[in-house]
């Protein structure tokens, strides 16, 4: 299992064990992390699972692909470390990943 930490906008930390191959978004929903809506269910067709990847982790996680970058246009307060969590696949390399939930989703 791979460890993920979600930090909600109010600072509450959620430490979860995630299965490799699942998406970061799925683990947020499964564990009731507030502020991750995932309206489209993970189709990269909305921008309501937006997260900020911790600066220590941006290189490991990597940048968004073109379609995700397009979808990020619809998110609120997009920053260089913004990602849509439905497009981050859980794998060994991201064990210990920290992501922060923005103030609001689009």
């Amino acid at each position: 299992m791979t460890k993920l930490t979600f930090i909600a906008f109010d600072g509450t930390e959620f430490n979860v064990e995630a299965e490799n191959g699942s998406t970061v978004m799925e683990n947020a929903i499964r564990n009731g992390v507030p502020g991750i809506e995932a309206e489209c269910g993970g189709a990269c067709a909305c921008a309501t699972c937006h997260v900020y990847v911790d600066d220590e982790w941006t290189d490991v996680v990597g940048p968004p692909e073109a379609m995700e970058e397009d979808m990020l246009d619809f998110a609120y307060d997009v920053r260089p470390n913004s990602r849509l969590s439905c497009q981050i696949r859980v794998r060994d390399e991201i064990d210990g990943l920290i992501v922060r939930v923005p103030e609001r989703q689009a």
Binding site: E39, C40, A43, A45, C46, A47, E69, D70, L72, D73, F74, Y76, D77, V78, R104, Q105, A106
Partner: protein, 342 residues
């Protein structure tokens, strides 16, 4: 006077479940008219994930959203369904003779003996961008679509977005606006390259301004905008504007259905599981928009609901006709309707 279109069944929503309802109703000789807010059939399958593979349609190990829509359209072709696109149902009322009178947001009127709500997650509507306080300016200074270009003549127009709508309106409104600014969060656009090139050419000629950034705040009074704060790579700037056109894509909203007195359960319409009828006789709800114990939001569940609904609809439209249950494999009368009789 607007023309009244009469039909046996009016279907609200032309997604996969609304389309399959045409088939089940058609086998029972009921004529259907479908109304959808989008400009084409398919609902979410066509709008949100045309290319995405679906793996849980029986007998299709994998099929894309658009392919599923195309197959359904082929399957219902023998029944010649009528479509009205780009319209939302605005009102529904029961008339003295028990039929329904349904009006669209553009004033078209339908009369139907049965109404089927197959509206999925609701109607697709422009998304309100998450700019604090934007609601206060909507309708006066903030618009999500251009209905009349004249409302923008001589105004300081701010357009936000990077897709085709944003770029098209940038090019169309630039000649009549007093000042036009386009704001997009990055230099890459989703819009057609040709529009983007035209925009850059106008920027060269100083006929418009293009600013990289995101709108974070608005200022104005009594619903009338005077400016917007744009956070860009070099910090915040205030851009004077009297009109704001944000293009942030589409979202699904229940819309006027919420006001039809159907005792909604968390924005879903409660139905029985025998006929999928709402609390209002003759008004059915199938697919993602309905709710009952054990409901699963699956396309296949919507197909099942359509079949059972059709039986009940038939009894309403033709109360004196005996409905015999038949299989398409063996019934020559069903095969005749499908145009495949030998």
């Amino acid at each position: 006077m607007s023309l009244v279109t009469k039909t046996d069944v009016l279907i609200v929503g032309a997604g996969p479940v609304g389309l399959f309802a045409v088939f089940e109703l058609g086998l029972l000789d009921l004529k259907c008219h479908l109304v959808d807010i989008l400009d084409r059939p398919g609902g979410q399958c066509a709008e949100l994930y045309p290319e995405k593979p679906i793996y849980d349609i029986p007998a299709w190990p994998v099929i894309s959203g658009q392919a599923l829509v195309d197959r359904l359209l082929e399957q219902i072709r023998p029944f010649q369904p009528q479509f009205t696109f780009n319209r939302m149902i605005a009102s529904l009322e029961r008339q003295a003779d028990g039929t329904f009178k349904v009006a669209t947001d553009e004033g078209e009127i339908f009369e139907a003996k049965v109404v089927v709500i197959a509206a999925g997650g609701g109607s697709f509507q422009p998304k309100r961008p998450p700019i604090p306080g934007i609601e206060a300016y909507e309708g006066k200074s903030v618009f999500y679509a251009v209905r009349r270009m004249e409302e923008f003549r001589g105004e300081d127009v701010l357009i936000v977005g990077g897709g085709d709508s944003a770029l098209d309106w940038t090019l169309n409104l630039q000649p009549i606006a007093r000042r036009l600014t386009l704001v997009h969060r990055r230099p890459e656009f989703r819009a057609a390259p040709d529009s983007v090139n035209k925009m850059y050419a106008l920027q060269e000629e100083k006929k418009l301004e293009f600013q990289i950034g995101q709108v974070t705040g608005l200022s104005g009074e009594n619903g009338y905008l005077t400016g917007a704060v744009v956070k860009g790579p070099e910090g915040e700037v205030e851009i004077p504007c009297t009109r704001l056109l944000p293009f942030f894509g589409l979202t699904m909203k229940l819309g006027p259905i919420a006001n039809w007195g159907l005792n909604l359960h968390e924005n879903l319409i409660p139905v029985d599981t025998e006929k999928f009828e709402t609390s209002e006789p003759g008004l059915f709800a199938i697919g993602d928009i309905n709710h009952y114990p054990g409901k699963l939001k699956l396309i296949l569940s919507g197909f099942h609901e359509a079949a059972l609904m059709a039986r009940a609809a038939k009894r309403i439209v033709s109360p004196n006709e005996r409905v015999v249950f038949q299989y398409t494999t063996s019934s020559t009368s069903l095969q005749k309707k499908l145009g495949v009789a030998g």
